[in-house]
C-alpha cells in the first residue's frame, strides 16, 4: 500500500512498512546515522538518527532507522527537540570515544554541548559500541567477536579477550566500523587483527593480495568449491582464455 507523508514540509511517497530513514534518504533528506549499515540488518542503538513525528497535538521522538511508516505522518528532521536530544547523545558518545574524529566532527556539526564536567574515557578510545562489527562478523557466520558484559561494562571483544580460534582475519569488522576503531596491521605477507596474525595469500598469476589464507579457505567452504587462488581479474582472464582455447579456432 502506498502512503503520502510529509518530511520537513515536502510530500514524499512510500510503501507502508518502509523504514522512515530510507524514505527520507530517497527523498534527499540527510539524517545522520552511526549504527546503520546498508548491508546489515537495522539495530536502532546509537540513537542519533532521531526525528520528530507530529500528528495533531501529539509529537513523538522516533528512531528513523527502525521506525516503519504505517500511516500518513508529518516528520520534522531537525526540530528543536531533535537538535537538543541528538546533541546530548553525540556529546555522550564523544566522552566514550574522545579520539574519534568522526564523532568530534558530528558534535561540531550538530552543536553538541561540551559538558566538561563529564569524565571522558582514555584518550585513544574510539569505539562507540555501535555493534556493527559484531553484526558483520555474525552475518559472515564466523561470530569471532561479541559484545561482552552488560550495561556500562559493555565492550567488544573476542571470547575471554584471547585470540579467537574462529576469526579468519577477513577484517570485515574493520570495514564496517564507522570510527576506524579496529586495529588492522598489514604488510606484504601478513595481517594482524584481534590479537592474531594471519598469512596473506596472493593471486597465483598477478601477485595481488587476495585475503588471509583462512578467509580464502572459508569462502571456499561457503561456495562448496576448492579455494580460489586467483584474483577476480585474473580469474576472468583465465576463463576467457579457456574459452578461446575451446571455441576460439
Amino acid at each position: 500500500m502506498s502512503l503520502n507523508i510529509s518530511i520537513d514540509g515536502k510530500t514524499c511517497t512510500c510503501e507502508s512498512g518502509e523504514f522512515l530513514l530510507e524514505v527520507a534518504r530517497r527523498n534527499g533528506f540527510y539524517i545522520p546515522t552511526l549504527c546503520a549499515h546498508e548491508s546489515l540488518s537495522e539495530q536502532g542503538c546509537c540513537r542519533v538518527c532521531i526525528v520528530e513525528i507530529v500528528s495533531g497535538e501529539r509529537s513523538q521522538i522516533v528512531v528513523s532507522c527502525v521506525y516503519p511508516v504505517e500511516r500518513a505522518i508529518e516528520v520534522l528532521t531537525n526540530s528543536e527537540k531533535v537538535k537538543a536530544l541528538r546533541g546530548m547523545t553525540l556529546a555522550l558518545l564523544q566522552k566514550l570515544a574522545p579520539a574519534s574524529s568522526l564523532i568530534a566532527g558530528m558534535c561540531k556539526a550538530y552543536g553538541a554541548p561540551e559538558l566538561p564536567r563529564l569524565e571522558a574515557r582514555a584518550d585513544d578510545d574510539t569505539c562507540i559500541l555501535c555493534g556493527l562489527c559484531v553484526k558483520a562478523c555474525a552475518q559472515l557466520g564466523t561470530g569471532a567477536i561479541a559484545a561482552v558484559n552488560r550495561g556500562i561494562e559493555k565492550k567488544i571483544a573476542t571470547p575471554y579477550d584471547q585470540p579467537s580460534a574462529t576469526c579468519i582475519g577477513c577484517a570485515s569488522c574493520a570495514q564496517v566500523c564507522p570510527t576506524g576503531s579496529i586495529v588492522v596491521k598489514q604488510d606484504a605477507q601478513e595481517r594482524s587483527i584481534w590479537g592474531r596474525t594471519f598469512t596473506l595469500l596472493a593471486c597465483d598469476r598477478c601477485g595481488v593480495i587476495l585475503d588471509t589464507t583462512e578467509a580464502v579457505a572459508y569462502a571456499a567452504t561457503l561456495r562448496d568449491a576448492p579455494p580460489e587462488h586467483l584474483c577476480p581479474d585474473c580469474r576472468k582472464q583465465q576463463v576467457a582464455q579457456a574459452f578461446v582455447g575451446v571455441y576460439g579456432k
Binding site: 536502532g44 542519533v48 536530544l85 555522550l92 566522552k95 564536567r117 562507540i128 552488560r150 550495561g151 559493555k154
Partner: protein, 618 residues
Amino acid sequence: MSAPTHPSPQGSKRSGEQAAVEQRTLLVCCGSGCLATNAAAVADALAEQLALSGFDALVKTGIKRTGCNGFCENGPIVKVMPDDISYYKVKPKDADAIVASLQGEPVQRLLYRADDGKRVLRHLENPFYAPQQRIALRHIGTIDPESLEDYRARDGYQALEKALSLSADALISEVEASGLRGRGGAGFPTGRKWRTAVGFETACSYVVCNGDEGDPGAFMDRSLLEGDPHGILEGLAIAAVAIGAERGFLYIRDEYRLAQQNITKAIAQTEAAGLLGDDIMGSGRKLHLEVVRGGGAFVCGESTALMASIEGRLGEPRAKYVRSVQRGLWDQSTVLNNVETLANIPWIILHGGAAFAATGTEGSSGAKVFSLVGKIKRSGLVEVPMGSTLRHLIFDIGGGIKGSRPFKAVQTGGPSGGCIPENLLDLSVDFDTLTANGAMMGSGGMIVMDDHDCMVEVARYYTNFLAEESCGKCTPCREGLRHMLRILTDITEGRGQAGDLELLEQMGTTMRENSLCALGKSAPNPVLSTLRFFRDEYQAHIHDKTCPAGVCPALTAFSIDAAVCTSCGACVKACPAGIISGSKGAPYRIAASGCIACGSCREVCRFDAVRAERKLHT
C-alpha cells in the same frame, strides 16, 4: 466424646456428631521464606507428633504444606483449620504443644502479639491480614500447591471450563469490563492487549507468562508461582483460549527453582488429567505449555528481550514500533502477561468483570499485591484494593516505622521507581497517581525509609543497579547511567560541584526521551524523583559537604553523647571495626581513628545516644 474446647469459627458451629468426623488440618507455610526458617522440619515434626498422638481416632487430622503466607519475617507459620488459629515463629520442638492443643487450649506463646500487646487467635484478627483483600493471592496459604485435587476442590479450572463455553469476543469483553491492567509494570489494559492480538492474523500465536521478577526485594510473582501454580496455568490457558494460541511458555527467573518445579509438576498434572494438552477439557482444542528458565539478567524481563531469550537469542530489547501482539515470538502474534495479571484472570471469569471493577479506582481496578519492606514494623506480601493510601499500607498494615523513628520516604516501583515524601502519604496508590508523582507502580515493591536513610545514597544505589543491569545496547541509557553514577558517587563522597543537579536533570531528559526500551526511559526516575522532593539534601552534600541523614561515610563522623549513653554496651558488639570502648557505669567512646562510619552503632542504640556529625576534613 469430648468436643474440642476451641472457639469454633463463625458459621461452623459443630454438632457433636460432626465433630467426631471433623477433618482438622494443620497448614504449614512452606513458601521460600518459611522454608528458609526451617518450615520443612516443622512440618515433619508435626506429622510425627500427630502419628504418635493416635489422634485420627478422635479427630481426623491432616497436614498440608502450603505456599507463602506473605508474613515471612514471622515464619514458619502454622494454621489450624477450620478453627482458624495461626501460630508464628514455630519451631520443630513446638510440635507436641500444637498437637496437644488440638484437644485443649491454643498455645498462647505462639500466637501473634498485636500492637496493643494482646495475643490474636485468628488470621483475620491479625492487623497484617485484616485489611487485605485477596484476589490474586486467594488460594495462597490455604491450598497445597502440589495438589491438583486441592485446587479443583476450590473451583479450580471452572473458569477455564466457562471460558471454553464462551466466544472469544465474549471472553475478551469480560476481561475488558474488569478494567484489569497489567501487573508487570507498564499497566497496559489486559483486555485491550488480547483484543488487539486477535486482530492480527499470523500463522499461529503464542501466550507467554512473564515470571522473570527482576526487581530486587520483590517476591509476589515467586510466591504465586510457588504457592498457586494451577492458578497461573489456568490464567494462561484462558489467555490462550481467548486468542487461539496452542503453545505457551512460562519464563521463570533462573533462581526460582521451587517455582519452576511446582509449575512443571502442575503442567504434567493438567496434561494427565486432560485439562490441558492435546484436548483441553474435551473441547478439541490444544494447549502445550513449557517452562523456560530465565536468562539471569534484569533486562530479560522486558518483553522484547524476554522473547529474544526464549528464541535462544541474546536477551536484549528491540524497538517496539511493531508490537509483540502483532509480531512477537518467531514473528507470530504473541500475548505476554505478568504472573500476577494472570492470577487475576480465573477470578474475573468466574465472578465477572464488573465484580473486579467494583474494587479499586476508576483507572486502576481490582487489588494489587505489594511487597512491603524496609524500616517498617510488619513487612511482607500484602494485597489491598487499588486506591488504598500509602499511609494505610505503611501505618495500618505495616504498623509504622521500626523503633518509632520518623517516616522519611517510600520508594515504590522497583529500581527505576521513585521516592515519595511524607507530605504525600495520603496519595492513592494506583497506576496514574504514582506516575504523576514521579514514582511508579512497577511490580509493586515498596521500601519504607526513615530519617536514617540518605536520599542521595538511595538514588546512587538504584542508579548503580541500573548501570549494571542495563543491556548497554543504546547510547542514552548506557552513557547516561555511566555519567549519572559518577556524579552521584562524587556527590556522596564530597566531590559534588555547582551545576551537577542541572546536569543530572539534563541527562535524565535525554535518557527518558531517547532510550530504546523502558529500562532506559525510566532509569533517571530514582535521581529525578529524589531531586524533586529532596533537593535540599543534595545541596547539603554539594555545598556544605554534609550528609544530613548521617549515612555517607565520607561526610559523616559518629560520636557517643556521654550524657545519654547508659553504657549498655550494645554498640560495642555491633561495631565491625571494633573501636568502641568503655565499661559498665561509664559512657562508651568511639576511638578517634579507625571509624568506617557505617552507622551500625547508631542503628543498635536504643537510647539514641549516637550522634552523626559532619566529618571535618583536616
